[in-house]
Subunit: 227 residues, 2 copies
């Protein structure tokens, strides 16, 4: 369960104070499928980064499974992230030196999975995003959408309990986008929580609940089908 | 005028030969508004890179304004590019060390424009993409869509005769996307050629002509309104 209580994220630029998030109160239950929408610059990625333990709020409390994470040090946060949270970044953050297979395999290696088991799981993950034939391409040898799909395969390979995806279909044609959404939604059958940031109403409509941000605040909440 | 004659772009990966483009024949007239669509990995960015003189075909002839560019050296290509072609990249390629203002100003500096004139033109360009209040933010201090808009402002500031945009609205909400498309289409009033790669049919529909790629080939051409 994700509980956000009066969350602020403030930046200081010279003598200007910028509130990327300005008082977010939100609870997301286990197994929920939530979409976050809002104008460019409204705070969506910032919110996802805080939920994903990649950033700390300036003010407010974040309880993950009932436990306040604000008091934990970076190593403790990293441990929770590695096992429990899969993150598909808006700008992918793939490792240039590794090919698609190497990028997707990395979480398994860090998790101590044996080589033989790794091989099968990586092949399956690449297959599921339609990249079996690009396994040995490095990010620079892949198209934009192919990099996005590598990021998705990497984020989901440890079967994390929470998947955070920041504009996962932004660079995908409708058919690759459909394949990716079906994959992400398929994980929910195992009780996984899926939180997507998207600009695409067609993607948001598939969520149970849509949260709309504007200027760092939640301005509307609605069921996906009402979009 | 852009004339592509039997254009191939081939990559060698070990003993595999991959054709990113496999025989493209296409002519784009001055002032045309063209959208390029197609599945992830179908060759759209590769085609745009060749049109934009950032890449050379493995085979075939590219005539720009009647002149075959294949014989030109890198300096000559760079000179044509700098003045005549504005490119909005799928992954932006902004300079991290410079803020939004600095990134947008760079083409003007390279073109020898005086400081006083530069200031006004940069302010206007940032205003036009809704980023006047983010002028002193570096790319890492901007949202994904804000970076995309900086890339657009930078690509258009020299009023190039051809604008190439690779998924310019991919990270934008509908209202920022609308603002950007209106800006890009506004340039056409001066006779500029606009070539957009997009996955969004709503964006492609606004073009006069849509070219659909699949596996490195053109498989369909149609008027935008038929989408
Ligand atoms: N350096 C390279 N070496 C080998 N293959 C490459 C290289 N660069 C691109 N490719 C391959 O060429 C094909 C076309 O890539 P391109 O980037 O043009 O696709 P795209 O249509 O822009 O896709 P997207 O919609 O995902 O951005 C892809 O299958 C990609 O894997
Ligand atoms: N390091 C930083 N310093 C100052 N301001 C920042 C910093 N990082 C982000 N911002 C600002 O915080 C605001 C929210 O950014 P965020 O990336 O969360 O937006 P977003 O909703 O994800 O936008 P997009 O849809 O364009 O990706 C933006 O206005 C941005 O300029
Ligand atoms: Mg974002
Ligand atoms: Mg591309």
């Amino acid at each position: 369960m994700i509980e956000l209580e009066d969350i602020w994220r403030t930046y200081q630029l010279g003598d200007t104070t910028l509130h990327a998030l300005a008082g977010i109160d939100e609870t997301i239950q286990d197994g929920e499928h939530v979409a976050i929408m809002g104008p460019s610059g409204s705070g969506k990625s910032t919110l996802l980064n805080i939920i994903g333990l990649l950033d700390r709020p300036t003010r407010g409390t974040y309880r993950l499974d009932g436990r306040a994470v604000g008091g934990l040090d970076d190593d403790a946060l990293a441990a929770i992230r590695r096992r429990g949270i899969g993150y598909v970044f808006q700008s992918y953050h793939l490792i240039e030196r590794l090919d698609a297979r190497g990028n997707v395999e990395l979480p398994l290696i860090l998790d101590g999975v044996a080589p033989r088991e790794r091989r099968g799981r990586v092949e399956a993950a690449l297959e599921a995003v339609g990249l079996a034939e690009r396994a040995d391409h490095r990010p620079s040898e892949l198209s934009g959408g192919q990099r996005q799909r590598v990021a998705i395969a990497r984020a989901t390979i440890l079967n994390p309990r929470v998947i955070l995806a920041d504009e996962p279909t932004g660079n995908l044609d409708s058919s690759s986008g459909e394949q990716v959404l079906a994959l992400l939604e398929g994980f929910r059958a195992r009780g996984l929580t899926l939180i997507l940031v998207t600009h695409d109403p067609a993607v948001a409509r598939r969520a149970e609940r849509v949260i709309i941000l504007r200027d760092g605040r939640v301005v509307r909440r609605m069921p996906g089908r009402e979009l």
